[in-house]
């Protein structure tokens, strides 16, 4: 069974540019989460999809961040326009439906905004 994959692994962009991160969850996992870790800080929740619906987007920093999960499969997280403080590692995780299930994490995308 393939794990959670994320693309790209690294992205270096300039302030004001746009970046789109992609996450492919484990097949059959209804739950998909986005998290971010800024250097020196703890991992922070961004949002949670159940299938194609946003269940909780309380962690999204501002309206420069847009997440989608069309068809309930892969998800994208777009940052437009990027700011310096958006730098960090963005993790995607997926989990089965129901109960308190373990979350399976991808390797993360390291985003650097210059």
């Amino acid at each position: 069974e393939a794990g959670v994959t994320q693309f790209p692994s690294h992205s270096v962009i300039e302030k004001g540019q746009t970046v789109t991160l992609r996450c492919d969850p484990i097949s059959g996992h209804d739950n998909l989460y986005w998290y971010r870790r800024v250097m020196g800080k703890e991992i922070k929740f961004l949002l949670h999809f159940v299938k194609e619906s946003k269940q909780d987007e309380s962690g999204m920093p501002n309206n420069r961040f847009l997440a989608e999960r069309t068809g309930g499969t892969y998800s994208t997280l777009k940052v437009q326009p990027a700011e310096l403080e958006d730098s960090g590692v963005y993790f995607c995780a997926s989990a089965k439906a129901g109960g308190y299930n373990e979350q399976f994490f991808g390797p993360g995308t390291r985003l650097t905004v210059l």
Partner: protein, 114 residues
């Protein structure tokens, strides 16, 4: 606001000894608590989950305890091996619905010396 504290200093132990990591939390009543392992450049990997009504869970050389009165979890690795060297993260989970997101501690770095 919710806060999770883990051993702030790195833990160095000798191979074969038991490593004990601490996770304390405030201003939160989690439905469950999870422990993850993270290696450099990789996403967190799930280790154990313990629910609020459970006192102890074991899995091979791992043991986790959960004291909701003290608001504390202890994570033990017995017969530690150099391969156990990694950062260990504590994460709290809420109840069903919008609180499935995980709230994370900063992690504790463990080094097991041969």
């Amino acid at each position: 606001s919710q806060k999770i504290e883990q051993n702030s200093e790195a833990l160095n132990i000798q191979e074969g000894k038991t490593a004990t990591l601490t996770c304390n939390y405030t201003n939160y009543s989690p439905a469950y608590l999870q422990w993850y392992r993270q290696d450099p450049g990789r996403g967190p990997v799930f280790l154990l989950l313990i629910r609020e009504n459970e006192k102890e869970k074991r899995k091979e050389r791992l043991k986790v305890t959960f004291d909701t009165t003290l608001k504390q979890s202890l994570f033990h690795i017995t017969a530690s091996q150099p391969a156990d060297s990694a950062t260990y993260l504590c994460a709290l989970g809420g109840r069903a619905g919008n609180n499935r997101k995980l709230i994370w501690g900063l992690g504790t770095s463990l080094a097991v010396n041969p």
